[in-house]
């Protein structure tokens, strides 16, 4: 699962829909294995499009869960249509972080209901047992 997806995934339990705690999920750092997938092409246009939708606080907190606390606290902004050299460097970093970083194995917990979801072979299992469905 891409790091970008962690910024959109919430708890599947119906009761958690209305809670503010169900996003972002808590990632258990020691159980998570990361992998860099170099195969995906750098796509600045998509990144610019999706960055508006990204909640930077959640990015920072999930990165911290996974053991990276070096991210800036402020979301990078791209004001000009024409991208400067610096913007391109930032975008490339974002690409490495959001798109190329893959969570291969791991555990995520909902902060509201405490349900644990497991990630195996980079596929998160979001199915709920019958009593929660």
């Amino acid at each position: 699962m891409k790091f970008l997806t962690t910024n959109f995934l919430t708890c599947s339990v119906k009761e958690c829909d209305r809670s503010n705690n169900s996003f972002p999920l808590h990632y258990k750092g020691e159980a998570c294995q990361l992998e860099q997938d170099e195969g995906i092409e750098f796509n600045p246009e998509f990144l610019l499009r999706v960055i508006d939708r990204v909640e930077w606080d959640a990015v920072v907190s999930v990165a911290k869960d996974l053991g990276n606390s070096t991210l800036p606290q402020q979301k990078p902004v791209f004001e000009n249509e024409e991208l400067s050299e610096e913007d391109m460097i930032v975008l490339r970093d974002l690409h490495v972080l959001l798109i190329q970083t893959n969570i291969v194995e791991g555990e995520m917990t909902c902060r509201n209901c405490g349900h644990i979801y497991y990630i195996k072979n980079s596929i998160p299992n979001l199915l709920l047992p019958p009593h929660l469905a």
């Binding site: 246009e45 798109i99 980079s122 596929i123």
Partner: protein, 268 residues
């Protein structure tokens, strides 16, 4: 022709052998590719975007999304299908999730969503505790939430009968979608294909209502004729009306007399 929907639930039907067969069959690949391209044509996306693929299976449709330059996320309920997908080096994310339990994404996540040959499964009740109507509602409600404003959803599906189409479109409308069903090749029995085409509200760049120079306090809305009548009626009229109603419904009602609706004096 037998329908897989009638045989077993999807996570059971698409086991290792069945998903292997499905993915390697060139005929299936060809049909899936054609339907995905048609769905994309119906979506009419101007830019590359973030797309949700519901019932992605082994990623046959996802591959085409990647080719078209979109980034996608897929959900499917069959672990075997997803495992087959893993061996195919897909660029999108795969997730194991039952669409009837809702799509667990933040509001406004996706630009669009597609689904190829999947949503008819929602009309089946595979276990004692799942109710198709509730699952359809949950599916469309969460889908509406996770699409951005004006986001579109195109789903190719195989309805068993008219009722299934009806229940799917009704659930979509109740959830707030606008749109309908497109039928391709209606004459042919074999190639007839149903596409559900929905959009979630109006797009942000569409013309909004012009509220310049408008005072926002609306005048009191004129009451309907019926309400006005009820407000002006006396206590006696009220009793007469209620007694009339009960009489019409066949209830036992006290006889009308000159004393009906009169106050009881303290002398009494």
């Amino acid at each position: 022709m037998s329908r897989p929907e009638d045989l077993a639930p999807p996570e059971v039907f698409y086991n290792d052998t069945e998903s292997g067969k499905y993915t390697s069959s060139t005929r299936v690949q060809h049909i899936q590719a054609k339907m995905t391209l048609r769905a994309l044509e119906l979506l009419n996306l101007q830019h590359m975007g973030f797309i949700l693929d519901i019932g992605c299976g082994s990623g046959l449709s996802g591959e085409i999304l990647t080719e078209e330059g979109h980034v996608w996320c897929g959900v499917d309920i069959s672990p075997s299908m997803l495992a087959t997908g893993l061996t195919r080096e897909l660029e999108g994310d795969l997730m194991l999730q039952d669409m009837g339990q809702g799509l667990p994404f933040r509001a406004g996540t996706f630009d669009a969503a597609i689904s190829i040959s999947a949503i008819q499964w929602l009309c089946n009740a595979d276990t004692s505790y799942n109710d198709p109507k509730r699952r359809l509602m949950r599916f469309f409600n969460t889908l509406f939430a996770c699409l951005k404003k004006g986001g579109k959803f195109v789903a190719q599906f195989y309805p068993k009968n008219e009722e299934q189409t009806e229940s799917i479109t009704t659930a979509a409308k109740v959830a707030g979608f606008s749109g309908g069903v497109v039928v391709d090749d209606p004459e042919s029995k074999k190639n007839k294909k149903y596409y559900l085409v929905l959009s979630a509200g109006a797009a942000a760049d569409e013309q909004q209502v012009n509220l310049q120079g408008v005072t926002m306090d609306a005048e009191a809305v004129e009451k309907s004729k019926r309400n006005r009548k009820i407000e002006t009626e006396t206590r006696k009229d009220y009793i007469a009306r209620k007694k009339d109603l009960w009489r019409k419904r066949g209830r036992k009602v006290a006889k009308d007399s000159k004393y009906t609706g009169r106050k009881r004096r303290p002398k009494f």
